[in-house]
Structures are given as C-alpha cells and as structure tokens.
Amino acid sequence: MKTMGFTQKIILGLLLALGLAATAQANVGGPAWDKAPNKTNDMGALQNGAKVFVNYCLNCHSAAFMRYNRLTDIGLTEQQIKDNLLVTNTKIGDTMTAAIDPQQAKAWFGVNPPDLTVIARSRAGAGGSGADYLYTYMRSFYKDETKPTGWNNLVFPNVAMPHVLWQLQGERRPIYEELKEHDAVVHVFKGWEQLRPGSMTAQQYDQTIGDLVSYLQWMGEPVQNTRVRVGVWVLLFLGVFSVLTWRLNAAYWKDIK
C-alpha cells in the first residue's frame, strides 16, 4: 500500500504542476484581455444586450442557431419580442438570420461576417474566456485612415469589421510609448486618446458592451443557468445515493474476514 501512495503522490503533484503551468501561460501576441463582467444571471443586462445585438449586429452577422422565441428565457414576453426585436416577415419561431446577403458581404468586406451563435464559446484561449476576448475586442477599435473601413482593432489587427458602435463610443486613437529594450525600439501601448466623443461616456459604453457580451455568452449556451440548477439537485441526489451504497457495501463486507 505504501508504494501506491508514493505513486499516487507523484501523480497528484504532477497534475497540480501541470495545472499551474497551463494557466500560467502568457497570452502570446496581442494585448492582455480585460475581464468581462459576468451578467448571465442579470435579466435586465441580458435583455439590453439582446437589444444591442439585434440593432447593431444582426445587420451583418447571423445567429443562425438561435431562435427568437428562446429570448423568453431571459424574461421577455413573446409580445415584447415581436414588438421590439422581430424584423418584418420573421416569425417568433424563426432563427436570427442576418439582413445581409452573404455573397454581398464577402464582396464588401472580403470575408463573410462569421455567425455569432457560439462565438463566445469559440474565442476562449490562454488569455481568458471567450467573453473576455469579446469584451476587450469590442472596446479596442480605433480610427485608422489607412484601412478600407477607416477602423482598426488592437486585439484583431487589420480586422475587416468596422467599428459598428462608433457613434456610442466616439473616435479614439491608441497612444504608444517608445521604449528601448536591448538595442531595439519597442512600441508599448499606453492608453487611449479620445478624438471625438460618442453619445456615451466611457463607463456607459463599457457597461453596454458588458451587457452585449453577457448576452453573447448566454446565447452561446442558453441552457447554461438551468444546467447548473439541475446539476445541484443531481449531485445532491447522488450524494445521498452514495451514502446508501456505501452503507450497503459495508453491511455485506463486514462478513468478510
């Protein structure tokens, strides 16, 4: 028995070390991702996010696997969905398709705007969760006259997407500082310069993006909150069941000498 304890100790130690090593990896290339606020349990934030999504994103991006009527899960009634979020000729049971024609989009942007249904699940990485990426991305656009759309992005350089929410955030430019590092000149990002104000303050914009990103996070897996709730009950049940099977086992094994 001592030996197995030894082996098990080694394995355990190694697993812990691996876990640490994996999480300690720096995000190679690109700025660090800010932590997105988690509002997936805040119905108000999710509803606001849904509104922003429908008004700004659905013009070019589809969410082809998301049905409008699922929005009742975040506290909206079917009437509210029909009045505020449905475009003409869509029924409440339909999926959220983009207004744009994919061929035209490819012609205009060079690439078809990706479907956003599970975007929050696909963008996770070493730098953080998918929501963190999206939160940082949507707040990293800046004015760049050299680009066809007039916009660029710190997190996704040369992105084909324009800054759709520019009217809310206004126009900004990143400020760089030149540092000499080992005989090489390195440009380090220092902060933002607001060129023209938007209709929102920075704090309001951040909050709006937080709502939008939480909505995207929710839309990636609408059942997530239910999943956790059901899980608690399942685990409680299995806990009780395990106690019973443990005692059942003991009742038989006490015969064995």
Binding site: R67, N69, K91, G93, F241, R247, A251, D255, I256
Partner: protein
C-alpha cells in the same frame, strides 16, 4: 471460502434495510435518468416552429372556389360556398353519419365549428383535406346530380378515391362509408375579413 457469513439475524437485517433503501432511491434515480431520454422524442423547437400557425389571404376567393394551404404538412381547404350550396346542406342530414358533429366533439371540430355550416363564417368552410378513414386526400365533386360512384341526389361535396368515402360541403361524412368521422376542422381565427390564421384560435 472458509470465512463465511455470520448467520445471525442482525447481519441479515442490516443488509435488507440497506438493500431496500438503495433499491428505492436507485429506482427513483433510474426513472429520473430515463426522463430526459424519453423527452428527447418530443417535437423539437424546430418542429414546433415549422408547425406554427399559417396565415392565408382569402381576398381572392370567389364563391364556389376552394384554395389549399399547407399546415403541419397537411392540406387545409378553404372553400367559399355559394348561397345555394349552403341552402342545400340541410338536405343531406338524413344521409349523414354525424350531422351535428356530436361524435368525438373535442377532436374533429372546435366549439365554434359545431354548427350547421361547421364554420365561423357561414360562407367559408375550413377543413383539413384528409379522409378520416386512412388518410388519402378526397377529390372535389362540387357538381350536384348523379355521377359515377355518387348517389342520384348528390348535392355536391368531396369523394375519396381510395375507398369511396363521401363528404358533403360542410365536410360531414355520409352513412355506411369506410370513413368514421367528419373532416377535421383545424383551430383557426379571422385576423380580418381577408386574413385567416390556421393553426391557432387565439388572436395575437
């Protein structure tokens, strides 16, 4: 084995207690585990969306004309009956199996269609065009008078080619035919004089 069970009652009791407890809780857990799998057989959101109510524009229907609309994969007939056709309906009553739509009252017709014309608006008949025998779609036989396979006093209606069942212009089945029931009236509601919603009877 040499080491065997101690045959005292105490040991047997504790085994039995835990066996019963574990079995009961286990059975509950087992049933709970089966529920999601069986539920997955239910119509999905996609099926429910596809089965949603369908809107029909009846503005172009002239008296004596019938149009067909698809709802849940089934043909739904909307027929605008002429005054003569409506007047002739009661003549069929003695020959009909269920003239007052009393058989299967909740299945074949909603309350607003259990009347003489089996409709909300007397002129417009709205029925599912599927024979209640084995599911073929009957053909139109609107011309009154004797015709092959039809009685001499035929007032106009529908004739199912598969096994010969006949229905009148209110979708009511004739006696002694293979089909047991009148044609089904689906839930429906008039959104306006020209817009008919089939599949739902609650106004938006």
């Amino acid at each position: 084995m040499s080491e065997t069970l101690a045959p005292s009652g105490k040991v047997d009791d504790s085994k039995r207690t835990w066996l019963i407890a574990t079995s009961c809780v286990g059975a509950v857990g087992g049933i709970a585990a089966v529920v999601p799998f069986v539920s997955s057989f239910q119509p999905s959101e996609k099926a429910k969306a596809a089965g949603a109510a369908v809107e029909a524009d009846i503005s172009a229907l002239k008296p004596g004309e019938k149009m067909t609309v698809e709802w849940r994969g089934k043909p739904v007939w909307i027929m605008r009956r002429t005054p003569e056709q409506l007047a002739a309906l009661s003549k069929n009553d003695p020959e009909l199996a269920d003239p007052n739509s009393e058989r299967k009252p909740t299945e074949q017709a909603p309350a607003y269609a259990r009347n003489a014309t089996r409709s909300i608006k007397p002129e417009y008949l709205v029925v599912v065009g599927i024979c209640t025998h084995l599911g073929c779609s009957p053909s139109d036989k609107f011309q009154p008078g004797a015709q092959p396979s039809l009685p001499n006093d035929w007032q106009g209606g529908f004739f199912c080619p598969c096994h010969g069942s006949t229905f009148d212009l209110a979708g009511r089945v004739f006696k002694n035919k293979p089909a047991p029931d009148n044609l089904e009236v689906p839930p429906h509601v008039y959104l306006s004089d020209t817009r008919l919603l089939i599949g739902d009877d609650k106004k938006a």
